[in-house]
């Protein structure tokens, strides 16, 4: 699967004025969104090479056309109950920015859902709910067809904690 697949799923691929496109995916019944410009591609789940002494949510690394790309299980990262990987389990490959550059990382999610155009003003700040997701990782909440979409700040999410680049290891 490629990025085209993701784009074709949206009914409205051209974002209008003041809008941004988001790829949404499902996890534990909730719908999350990421900025589609950060999505490099979508792949099916494939086996990974584990990194020793790494946090459980870091599933390992895969070979993405010659570069070594870490894969993060987003359920585990958010502390959601793990789900056996199935045929709809996908890996979304994202470009993650940090102070010193850009990294390519993958997130494992239950299933890809849709592509939505969301107006910037339609984005609400997240309420202080005691959810599983650390508020820091949420860019905002948006309503689409009465459904709530949690828009993630992937830079914060994937550069936090033990995923921080140049961590404590020498």
């Amino acid at each position: 699967m490629s990025m085209n697949t993701a784009l074709e799923m949206g009914e409205n691929p051209q974002p209008g004025e003041g809008e941004a496109q988001y790829l949404t995916f499902l996890m534990d019944g909730e719908e999350y969104g990421v900025d589609i410009l950060r999505v490099q591609e979508i792949r099916g789940w494939d086996s990974v090479t584990a990194i020793p002494n790494s946090p459980p949510y870091l599933k390992g690394v895969i070979n993405l056309r010659g570069s070594v790309v870490p894969i993060v299980d987003l359920r585990l990262r958010f502390g959601l109950p793990p789900l056996e990987y199935g045929p709809t389990t996908v890996v979304i490959i994202l470009r993650v920015e940090h102070d010193r550059g850009e990294r390519v990382m993958g997130i494992v999610v239950d299933a890809v859902s849709d592509v939505h155009n969301l107006p910037a003003e339609g984005m609400k700040p997240p309420p202080d709910f005691g959810g599983a997701v650390d508020l820091d990782f949420i860019a905002g909440l948006a309503l689409v067809d009465e459904r709530m979409i949690v828009v993630l700040d992937i830079d914060r999410l994937l550069n936090s904690g033990e995923l921080a680049p140049e961590g404590d290891a020498p």
Binding site: A50, P52, N53, V61, I62, N63, V68, A164, P165, A169
Partner: protein
């Protein structure tokens, strides 16, 4: 059509730095005072092209400085000046300074004016050492406020006549020859001029800076439209510049087309004739250029006189722009020998000397005889054979110009990290290889298309195809890798200079021998090994080689020898630094080590030599107080060792007191590929670098010992090594916990040994190293990753890191036992 000149900066810098390197090498070769004309010519040429380039690109400081240098070199070249040690030293200093200037220019800054002025003054002082009267005059272009000398002595005249290199807008230097009110320039390009990359527009614009310019176009040579070659300049111009600028300023504008055009520069009005002759005491120079000049002038002057103020406005653009779109024969590259053929041979003896050299060798005692060889050497091929010249000259330029244009370094490129110059052979080999690969691939896919599992013949063919594909791929990989490979002479080249300087400073006599300079290694490795090598060579010179008296007293030849050698061994490059000096002093090192608590006094005596010598790599084992009293500079030996280790290499010392020391550095040829041993632990495959493996063995329970109940040590012959269970360190479930069921790989990293317990050894293979940090972060015990044949990722083990990790608290692993 305006060209952004800055895109050529990087090429200019690179070429200039290369030129400086060759200057330095040639200067070092000159040392003895024996005059090697070829070497002097080489030095001169390098200085000349740096001067020209810097002037073209507007690096005035550099241009002025090289000009003085060039003048000095010119005198040497013509045998008018002896090549003294002092001069060589000064020129070497100048080379250093130029290098600084280029580096500064690369960074967009300039070198301190005072610093430049200082060396420049010394050059000038030397230049006029024999004719003191001339000194103040020559100083004039250097913005020295000294009063102009009365032009009495012949050499004095040399100064004003010497060309001012700057082609920029700066006001003309105060110059007696500049008393003219202007110049009439007849400029008639030869047909290949555009192909040399020169553009009349730029030259005319340059002239425009000198003063008001009138341009007369001569289009008499313009052929009928259908015969026109758009790359040939058919036009000729007569330019009248009203300026106070001296002749050499005008000549400087045409410096680059010397030999590519007919050029005649005549003063406006007769007044200048007198000054020009006065300025040039050797009247012969002037007549020499006149006959041809007048002929040319008569020819062009007749052709019309339409005054035009803005030079670049109309005329010059025409040859390049206008004919191009319409001429259908644009691509026909066959040289139309018609219009110019007649005019080319005519100026054969004259054109080269007519512009630059006239200014460059004003004080030549025998102008008639001298100029002939000199310009031939510096201006490319002589224009005499008209057919060959355009092709030879056009070829290199044509090849060179598209290259720098491509990368378009709009931002000032930092350092030299970005580019390498690659020999064409290597690229060609690569292209061939890719061709082969494509063929093999298509062959395989064809077989695949009509593959029948039961057709044994087809199956055989498929297997053959696969084997071929594998071979092609491997060769392709090697070719690609070779592009990054450079001969180690790049790293060695700095040593002749360094050893020479150091030995002078230390009053030692040292001969540096280089061998194996063509041994190739990866550019990255080369860059990183440079500093450690410098340190080691300096140590050899500083601490190794004794002063001459001491050597003589010891019955050794007065001149010490430092030998740098490089060769390939297996997948490694070995660099040896050998000196025949006094050798390491075991007792002194031991005393120091005991004092620092690195060695217990009681064990000092029986410590083997190599262990003792290894001590000098300990941090804090300062070189200054170590073996000699001569102060060492820069990094310590521990840093040297660390750098080498970071490159995946090793360093060994062998030394005999009184006979010398040999340092042997082993480095991987490249950082991109590694010879690896695949090992298996708990279902995971890891790669152990072959260099870190000492041996692998089946565990004999009798040799296994427990220390303090927990720590396991294994006896390998007379040595005890701690056992590191990889599965424990990495938190995996092994096939079996019993050491007898697996294998113990004795590894060495960071000078420590350990027995790495793994489930199994798989094959050995070369792996391409991929970074983990790139998308993740460094992981302890892992140095990187690679991709195996089946497309999966395997991690590469970092032995030193693993040993550290195993020792870390919290892991139930044996502590290191006393060795």
């Amino acid at each position: 059509m305006s060209i952004d000149v800055s895109q050529f900066y990087q090429t200019f810098f690179e070429e200039s730095l290369e030129g400086l390197d060759s200057m330095e090498a040639a200067l070092l070769g000159l040392d003895t005072g024996a005059v090697d004309l070829d070497a002097i010519h080489a030095i001169f040429r390098a200085a000349h092209s740096i001067k020209g380039g810097s002037a073209t690109f507007g690096f005035t400081q550099m241009a002025e400085f090289t000009h003085v240098m060039e003048t000095l070199l010119d005198e040497m070249r013509e045998g008018r000046r002896e090549v003294t040690q002092e001069a060589v030293n000064l020129l070497l200093n100048s080379v250093d300074l130029l290098r600084e200037m280029i580096e500064a220019a690369q960074a967009g800054t300039t070198v301190d004016e005072a610093q430049v002025g200082e060396v420049q003054r010394r050059l000038e002082a030397m230049l006029h050492g024999e004719a003191a009267a001339a000194a103040p005059v020559e100083a004039a272009p250097a913005e020295d406020a000294t009063p102009p000398a009365q032009a009495g002595e012949p050499p004095a005249a040399e100064a004003p006549a010497a060309e001012t290199p700057a082609t920029d807008e700066e006001g003309p230097a105060p110059d007696p020859a500049g008393a003219t009110t202007g110049w009439r320039i007849v400029f008639r390009p030869y047909e290949h001029l555009l192909r040399t990359g020169n553009d009349p527009v730029r030259m005319f614009r340059e002239l425009g800076f000198l003063g008001e310019t009138e341009v007369t176009l001569d289009d008499s040579r313009l052929p009928p439209f259908e015969d026109m070659d758009p790359e040939v300049p058919y036009l000729a111009w007569t330019l009248v510049v009203h300026t106070d600028a001296p002749r050499d300023r005008v000549e400087a504008v045409f410096e680059w087309v010397e030999g590519d055009c007919e050029l005649d520069i005549q003063p406006l009005g007769g007044a200048d004739e007198a000054t020009s002759v006065a300025a040039d005491p050797h009247g012969e120079a002037a007549p020499e250029e006149t006959p041809e000049a007048t002929a040319a002038e008569a020819e062009t002057a007749a052709s019309g006189e339409t005054p035009k103020a803005a030079p670049e406005a109309a005329a010059p653009d025409e040859p390049a722009a206008e004919p191009a779109p319409e001429a259908p024969a644009a691509e026909a590259h066959d040289e139309p020998p018609a219009p110019q053929a007649a005019s080319v041979p005519e100026p054969a003896p004259a054109p080269a000397p007519e512009s630059t050299p006239a200014a460059e060798r004003p004080a030549a005692p025998a102008p008639a005889a001298q100029p002939a060889p000199a310009p031939a050497a510096q201006a490319a091929p002589s224009p005499a054979p008209p057919s060959s010249q355009p092709s030879t000259q056009a070829a290199p330029t044509a090849k060179a110009s598209p290259t720098p244009a491509k990368p378009k370094p709009a931002a000032r490129p930092k350092g030299d990290a970005g580019s390498i110059r690659v020999s064409i052979d290597k690229v060609d080999a690569l292209i061939n290889m890719v061709g082969e690969l494509v063929i093999t691939q298509s062959m395989l896919s064809q077989i695949g298309d009509d593959f029948d599992a039961f057709d044994l013949a087809a199956f055989e063919k498929l297997k053959d195809g696969l084997a071929q594909l594998e071979r092609n791929t491997r060769e392709l990989q090697e070719s690609v890798m070779r592009i990054r490979m450079l001969p180690i002479s790049f790293a060695f080249s700095r040593f002749p200079r360094m050893v020479r300087d150091l030995s002078q400073k230390l009053n030692k006599k040292i001969e540096l021998r280089l061998s194996g300079e063509s041994t190739e290694l990866d550019k990255t490795v080369m860059e990183k090994i440079g500093d450690p090598l410098v340190h080691l060579v300096r140590n050899s010179v500083d601490h190794g080689i004794e002063p001459p008296e001491e050597r003589l007293a010891a019955g050794k030849p007065e001149t010490g020898v430092v030998h740098l050698n490089a060769y390939h061994q297996g997948g490694n490059i070995v660099i040896e630094i050998e000196d025949d000096g006094r050798g390491l002093d075991r007792d002194k090192i031991l005393a120091k080590a005991v004092e620092r608590g690195l060695v217990q006094p009681e064990e000092a005596a029986q410590l083997p030599d190599e262990r003792v010598f290894d001590l000098i790599f300990e941090p804090g084992f300062s070189t200054a107080e170590q073996v000699s009293d001569v102060s060492g500079r820069g990094v310590g030996m521990d840093v040297v060792k660390r750098n080498i280790r970071e490159l995946g290499g090793t360093i060994e010392i062998a030394s005999r007191p009184g006979e010398g020391t040999t340092l042997t550095i082993r480095l991987p040829l490249t950082l991109a590929i590694l010879d690896g041993q695949l090992v298996q632990v708990g279902g995971e495959t890891y790669i152990l670098p072959l260099v870190s493996i000492v041996e692998s063995l089946q565990v004999d329970p009798n040799h296994l010992n427990q220390v303090a109940g927990q720590a396991e040590v294994y006896q390998v012959r007379d040595e005890f090594v701690p056992v590191v269970r990889l599965h424990q360190v990495f938190g995996l479930t092994p096939r079996s916990e019993r050491l007898e069921d697996g294998l113990l790989v004795i590894v060495e990293g960071d000078g420590q040994r350990a027995g790495l317990f793994v489930d199994d050894l798989l094959g050995q293979q070369q792996v391409v190293i991929k970074s983990l940090e790139c998308n993740y972060k460094p992981v302890q015990g892992i140095s990187g990753a690679t991709i195996l044949g089946d497309g999966t990722v395997a991690l590469i083990l970092d032995v030193a890191g693993l040993i550290r990790l195993a020792k870390a608290p919290g892991l139930r692993t044996p502590r290191e036992a006393a060795a």
